[in-house]
């Protein structure tokens, strides 16, 4: 890394510390709270308001920290002779890593001295659409199929893939998908002791928003890594490399749009299991 690039990296680090300290720890804006309430169709009350604000503050702090880390990682990986480097996948991966950490660190409702819990099973379909829940495993399958296509193309001589990079992207894509799924399951299991109905509604809304962000962000990251895998295919046919490059370019925008739409979609949590005399389908 050149001296100029190192200076840029130090500036990013200093700006990052400032941003996390001032913006990340500052008060949550009214607009942010309203946006959360609108997306989840949640009635914010005096009892559940602080609970939502704590969630928003935790996720914002960690996502900002992750974003700064991603920008720094992008700068560290700058090619020789480059002063400022913006690797979109590295920056997005940093943001998403922050989002993952935030979900692990979000507070759950406190237990009282006498422990009480509902016997209502928590199912993914209460918090996200079936499409959203299936998205991360589906993208993992797409990554594996792309890996298989790369291997076949290599065998048949249609392409000369760079296996060092292709293996790395494929391994990362599968690892991200597995990690996201594990954290999604942990979010579903996050403790929900018995509390007032509006507090439970806020807890369900938080769970739903977490699962949306993990599904949208996780699927997008897996697909970005899959596009990297596709970019390392290096087809031998004349003009094929341009076709792959065009596909990757279109894919980047399509994946970013998909991730954003899923992560920000509205979905009020549903509670079909409240009355166990009419149990929800298994």
């Amino acid at each position: 890394m050149s001296e100029a690039a190192t200076v840029v990296l130090l500036l990013i680090a200093a700006f990052g510390v400032f941003l996390v300290d001032v913006y990340g720890r500052g008060p949550v804006s009214r607009q942010r709270l309203d946006r959360f309430a609108r997306r989840q169709q949640l009635r914010v009350t005096a009892d559940n308001g602080n609970q939502v604000i704590r969630y928003l503050a935790t996720t914002r702090r960690w996502r900002v920290a992750g974003l700064i880390g991603g920008i720094a990682a992008s700068q560290i990986g700058a090619p020789a002779g480059t002063i400022v480097n913006f690797n979109f996948v590295a920056i997005f991966a940093g943001w998403f890593l922050g989002a993952l950490v935030a979900e692990v660190r979000v507070d759950h409702l406190a237990h009282g001295r006498v422990r009480a819990a509902s016997l209502r099973p928590r199912r993914p379909e209460q918090y996200v659409r079936p499409f959203t829940w299936a998205l991360v495993p589906a993208t993992a399958v797409i990554a594996l199929v792309t890996g298989a296509i790369t291997a076949v193309a290599d065998r048949t001589g249609w392409a000369e893939p760079n296996w060092a990079w292709a293996g790395l992207w494929l391994g990362l894509a599968v690892a991200v998908a597995v990690t996201v799924r594990l954290i999604q399951r942990a979010v579903l299991r996050r403790a929900q002791p018995v509390a007032a109905p509006d507090v439970i509604e806020a807890d369900d809304a938080i769970r739903s928003r977490s699962l949306h962000v993990l599904s949208g962000g996780g699927a997008a990251l897996v697909l970005f890594l899959t596009l990297n895998l596709l970019a390392s295919l290096r087809p031998t046919a004349v003009g094929a490399q341009q076709v792959v490059a065009a596909l990757v370019l279109i894919g980047v925008f399509a994946v970013a749009l998909l991730g954003w739409l899923v992560a920000t979609s509205m979905w009020p949590p549903r509670r079909p299991g409240t009355d166990l005399a009419n149990p929800a389908p298994a």
């Binding site: 237990h111 016997l119 299991r189």
Partner: protein
């Protein structure tokens, strides 16, 4: 302590860590009560062990033991990938019958002693209650009989095991 219906949360369980009764037994007893009362109907799904353990702030092993006991007693069935649900028809094992009978008899004996009732009088009261119950269960509109799961409350030899 029990919480058949928790406000806004549907059927639920309450565990008192200060109680002399072990937490797993508190959970088991409350779920049994809810199944007997019909609050948890046949086929109703129960939460996963990990979910209930997290919600109650208990170790997963504690809830797992309660579920194991419920399964051994025929109250619930557990299937891989389908979770745990209330059994369609409760099968009462002989050991379970003896245990519950002994518990009820013991509680009755303690009550009789506290009331200062003699052994003969206490046994006579039981005989009288059994006779009344037999006469009542012969009637088709018996509310106790209709509230029991299939097979329970029938005379011993016909009881499913």
């Amino acid at each position: 302590m029990t919480a058949d219906r928790l406000p806004g949360n549907g059927p639920g369980v309450v565990v008192d860590p200060g109680s002399p009764t072990p937490p797993y037994e508190q959970i088991r007893a409350q779920i049994v009560t809810m199944i007997e009362a019909g609050t948890l109907p046949a086929g109703a799904q129960l939460p996963t062990i990990r979910q209930l353990a997290a919600d109650l702030g208990l170790a997963a092993n504690t809830v797992a033991r309660a579920y194991r006991e419920l399964e051994a007693g025929g109250w619930v069935v557990s299937r891989v990938r389908h979770g745990t649900s209330v059994a369609a028809r409760r099968r009462v094992s002989e050991a379970d019958v003896r245990r519950r009978l002994h518990e009820a008899a013991h509680a009755y004996a303690v009550l009789a002693r506290r009331l200062g009732v003699g052994t003969d009088e206490a046994i006579e009261a039981v005989r009288s209650a059994l006779a009344e119950d037999a006469a009542r269960s012969a009637r088709p509109d018996d509310p106790v009989r209709s509230a029991l799961p299939d097979g329970e409350g029938e005379p011993g030899p016909d009881r499913p095991t």
